[in-house]
């Protein structure tokens, strides 16, 4: 019922595979996916483990709704200790892989140890086996996916794999499924690479059932009707995708540009959703081919794009002239605004390469931005870059580095360190725009105050997807708050964090939350899953998950001192826009946040809090 109630444990060191019953006591307390897999992870893994050691584990997990007809219910997450951050990592991906895992009869797959030689896991319903992947090692995500489908002569196999970047230890490598959906952040693909695990391929045909089908259909259909009737999820996202935010955030004065030196970018329009839809001069066709959905998604915000055939990146390379996964907002920001590059085709090309070689465009773009600043101040020179003129705004530098980083060659290997290690290496740790080693995404914490607290307290390092207060502060969802003030943001962040943990653990996409509240989600979970699931229970689950993750990080050695933003955001005021003259007010929000969380002033959950949540 909703849960398959079974997991697969793969010991890569021993080459063994075994089935286990899912711990349903835990499922009742942590729901699934992010929450439940984190519970398994913290129970089984030493918090001090080196992320790249065989003692680290990696869990691919679905939620109870994954594979059902609830809208967007095709998600899975990769849970591990992040290679980029050393913190608990949970990266969520759409596409069609999560559904396939559930249909093969598994809620999650736990990988432990490390294989001596490259392997991939092939699951064909009840039959799971590790297969030699030596002939795929050194190939891209795209080639790996094609090869596995071809080897098994089954185009319906779903594949999640790593590219060369993940093999070679680029710190922010992703796990990519369905060619261009990715569990993108924190270096979960790097961990996978360290285990010599090239791919997980699944064919599942068993079907997914729910507790009360009649009620579930009603609840799921009601949920879909809410999404369809909501102007954001029903019209805005399908038509313009997340990229519609480029002009919004720029206008709001919260679009970090050139390594967060500025909060607005002159080239914003040129790399926005509006630009993606404009016919280009050479062939009269727009960058955007069409929108596309992940499994079960009735929103369909995904972009399918092509690059202008005459563009320097692809003119001689027809293999990149076909349609593929196009720019989403965060990627476009990092590849564009963060680096000062306003060439839409160059960004699209870099994005293709990120997908093809499996690494996170956010961390990559942000790191290139940081490197550009290092270059500008002379901390790195042409000698280090191998002759790449690493100037802000250079499309050529961006696309060259994209290819080099994908293969971890030349200066690409340095970019592959991530901004924190790179900046420290060249003596300017302060230039890394990151928290807990993970680069910021596309919102400036001076122009959107809540996001500063979001980044600082995110359990997986700087991240917008742990509490997307942009929704409230800028977009007015569910209600408008003032982005420039810090008052009330601690509570807002906490509420978003707890609710988001529920969405991430249910098997659905957090984008539904633009239209859905937990009032819309609870009936779907309650009809699908055994047990009683109300908004209140779910919120408690969300809070429990948040504290579980925090506890792990604390045990791993993180302290309140790690809940901080780079000095630039605390001291250098925004130069333009509504936030002109403003810095982040994190120091005012953080104590209030700890208090609201029931944590000590040092950011440690009190015994009372832990007891209340049953931790």
């Amino acid at each position: 019922m909703a849960w398959a109630k079974k997991l697969l444990r793969v010991n890569l060191t021993a080459g063994t595979i075994s089935e286990e019953a899912l711990n349903m006591d835990w499922a009742n307390k942590y729901l699934g996916q992010r929450g439940l897999a984190t519970k398994y992870f913290v129970e089984e893994v030493d918090p001090k483990v080196d992320p790249l050691s065989p003692d680290n584990k990696m869990i691919m997990a679905t939620g109870p709704l994954t594979g059902t007809c609830a809208s967007t219910a095709g998600r899975y997450s990769v849970i591990t200790k992040g290679a980029l951050t050393g913190a608990i990592a949970c990266s969520n991906s759409g596409g069609f892989f999560g559904n396939e895992m559930k249909n093969a009869g598994y809620d999650m797959v736990i990988f432990e140890g490390a294989s001596k030689t490259p392997v991939y896991l092939f699951i064909d319903n009840d039959n799971a086996q590790l297969i030699d992947a030596s002939d795929m090692w050194g190939t891209s995500v795209w080639d790996t996916e094609d090869k596995i489908k071809s080897d098994h002569q089954d185009p319906m196999i779903r594949v999640a794999s790593i590219g060369i970047s993940g093999e070679k230890g680029v710190k922010y490598a992703c796990v990519v499924n369905d060619y261009h959906r990715a569990a993108g952040r924190s270096g979960v693909g790097t961990v996978m690479g360290s285990k010599n695990l090239k791919a997980v391929a699944i064919r599942g045909t068993k079907g997914v059932t729910v507790k009360d089908p009649v009620r579930f259909f009603e609840a799921a259909n009601a949920g879909k009707a809410v999404l369809a009737g909501n102007p954001v999820t029903g019209e805005g996202l399908p038509a313009f995708g997340t990229q519609v935010l480029m002009n919004v955030i720029n206008e709001t004065g919260a679009l970090p540009s050139q390594n967060h030196r500025d909060v607005q970018f002159d080239g914003a329009h040129a790399i926005s959703a509006e630009a993606m839809a404009e016919p280009r001069e050479s062939d009269g066709k727009p960058n955007l081919v069409r929108n596309a959905a992940c499994f079960g998604c009735t929103i369909a915000c995904g972009r399918i794009s092509t690059i202008d055939r005459t563009h320097y990146t692809v003119a001689e390379r027809p293999e990149y002239q076909v349609a593929s996964g196009g720019l989403e907002y965060e990627a476009a920001w990092a590849l564009g605004a963060a680096t000062g590059v306003d060439d839409l085709d160059a960004l699209t090309f870099a994005n293709f390469i990120c997908n093809e070689q499996g690494y996170d465009p956010i961390s990559f773009g942000a790191t290139v931005g940081a490197a550009m600043e290092l270059y500008e101040i002379g901390a790195i020179t042409d000698k280090e870059t191998g002759g790449i003129e690493l100037k802000f705004g250079s499309a050529k530098a961006l696309t060259d580095l994209a290819e080099l980083t994908g293969k971890s060659e030349g200066f690409g290997a340095e970019i592959g360190l991530g901004s924190k290690l790179l900046c420290e290496k060249y003596g300017h740790g302060e230039l890394s725009m990151s928290v807990k080693g993970q680069e910021f995404p596309a919102y400036d914490s001076r122009g959107i105050q809540g996001m500063g607290l979001t980044y600082a307290t995110s359990n997986r390092g700087a991240c917008h997807l742990r509490s997307y207060t942009v929704a409230s502060e800028v977009l007015g969802i569910p209600e408008k708050t003032d982005p420039l003030v810090h008052e009330g943001k601690a509570g807002l962040v906490k509420a978003f964090q707890d609710a988001t943990a529920v969405f991430d653990s249910a098997g659905i996409c957090v984008f539904t939350s633009f239209a859905w509240s937990l009032e819309d989600v609870a009936p779907q979970i309650d009809a699908a899953c055994e047990g009683d699931w109300s908004v209140e229970t779910l919120l408690e689950v969300g809070e429990r998950i948040w504290n579980l993750e925090r506890n792990f990080n604390n045990a791993a050695g993180f302290t309140a001192a790690d809940d901080k933003l780079p000095e630039r955001l605390m001291k250098d005021a925004a130069k333009t826009g509504p936030a002109k003259g403003l810095t982040s007010q994190l120091d005012k929000m953080l104590p209030e946040y700890y208090q609201l969380r029931g944590w000590t002033a040092d950011g440690v959950p009190t015994n009372e809090t832990l007891g209340r949540l049953g931790l």
Binding site: K149, S150, Q153, D154, P155
Partner: protein
């Protein structure tokens, strides 16, 4: 107007129904030579397995179908045709006059020239009567020898295996289903059958059958390799031939079957032929062939019916195709599965998982295919071949991965 149909198999019944729709007022007479209502030989194996009762084989399930459609169903065996007087002579009963005649007499199993085939316990598996006889002998654990591992032999094999008999198959040619499969596929089927505990002898002939007294009422089957196999039952499935002897003297041109044109007309006015007895247009070769399979029989029957009723409906030709379930391994063949000279082919063999796919091309068109271990969307192979889709860039993809047939079909036909 009186339409007369000799034969009550799939071709005959389809023709009768088609004629009724096309010509509501005409008289329609269908003549069958077996005592049961019109039934399907294809379904006999499922009676053997117990999945269905005999009634389950009937070609039309609706109560009173023939009466309701004013199709007069007459018992009788055609002796000869008198085209001049437009009369069919029937054995031991009144002649049947016709305005237009359809010959749909099907085919019969051939008996190889081997001693002992008349012994008790030796049967074809062709009629319901045969089926009843086989069921008497083929009990669980009984020793059964199946002569012939062609298409029909294999269909029966599945049923016999399911009854739990100790089964031995003897095939004279070098592989199983030799007329439907190449060596690679035929050998894969053999390996599969052996894995399912069926004894398979290929390149082996039965030399004679003898009655045995130990135990009572059994047989001994002598093979040309010197072996002797005991049997409670021997099933003979060594091929079929068209039932056309009775048309001698009627002036119809015949070859392997009765020659018909693209409208299923024979060489004699107002006489048509369809189904296993007809040698009709062959889609793949442009020539004429007997394709003794169900889809061809009903296509023939429908085309013949339409043309007899005066609706011009020329036939583009039948595609030789088969689908077979050999003890759980499902295979299919289409068209020129053995290819043409100078044509490309794509082939993937997965011996371990008993999966096989081979596509034969003429330029960028598929002209034939063989498949084992796959059932999904397999029909698109017919579509690809018969609509002569120019594959363009999809040919290269299929050369790389022939399992993309459905994608190729949809891409090329629905863009």
């Amino acid at each position: 107007m009186t339409y007369v149909i000799i034969g009550a198999g799939p071709a005959g019944v389809t023709a009768a129904d088609t004629l009724r729709k096309a010509d509501p007022k005409a008289d329609i007479v269908m003549i069958g030579s077996e005592p049961e209502p019109p039934y399907s030989r294809m379904a006999i194996p499922y009676v053997l397995t117990g999945l269905i009762a005999e009634e389950g084989t009937y070609l039309r399930k609706e109560e009173g179908h023939y009466d309701k459609n004013a199709i007069q169903y007459r018992q009788g065996e055609a002796e000869s045709i008198d085209p001049k007087n437009k009369v069919v002579k029937l054995k031991g009963t009144d002649d049947q006059p016709y305005s237009k005649l359809l010959i749909a007499t099907g085919a019969s199993p051939v008996k190889p020239p081997i001693d002992g085939l008349d012994l008790k316990g030796v049967h074809h598996c062709w009629t319901l009567e045969d089926c009843r006889n086989i069921m008497k002998f083929a009990d669980k654990g009984a020793d059964v020898v199946l002569m012939g591992a062609g298409f029909i032999g294999c269909i029966i094999m599945e049923a016999l295996a399911e009854r739990g008999v100790n089964l031995t198959v003897v095939e004279a040619l070098d592989r199983m289903v030799p007329r439907m499969m190449n060596e690679a596929a035929g050998n894969m089927v053999k390996a599969w059958c052996e894995k399912q505990n069926v004894n398979v002898h290929t390149s082996t002939k039965v030399t004679k059958l003898e009655a045995s007294k130990d135990p009572e009422d059994t047989l001994v089957v002598d093979l040309d390799n010197g072996k002797q196999i005991p049997a409670h039952l021997v099933v003979v499935a060594t091929g079929v031939k068209s039932n056309i002897d009775f048309v001698d003297g009627a002036g119809l041109k015949t070859d392997q079957g009765i020659l018909v044109d693209e409208c299923m007309r024979t060489s004699v006015d107002d006489i048509y032929a369809a189904g296993d007895c007809a040698q009709g247009p062959d889609f793949s070769t442009g020539g004429w062939a007997v394709h003794a399979v169900q889809p061809t029989a009903v296509d023939h029957g429908r085309i013949a019916g339409l043309n007899m009723a005066g609706k011009s409906a020329p036939f583009k030709g039948s595609l030789n195709m088969n689908v077979l379930d050999t003890v759980g391994l499902i295979s299919a063949s289409f068209g020129k599965w053995d290819g043409i000279e100078g044509g490309d082919h794509a082939e993937v063999i997965d011996t371990e998982n008993f999966k096989y796919m081979r596509l034969e091309f003429d330029g960028d068109k598929i002209i034939g295919a063989l498949s084992l271990g796959r059932t999904d969307q397999i029909g698109v192979l017919r579509g690809l071949i018969q609509t002569e889709i120019a594959l363009g860039p999809w040919k290269e993809r299929l050369m790389e991965n022939p399992h993309l047939i459905a994608d190729a079909y949809v891409a090329c036909s629905q863009q």
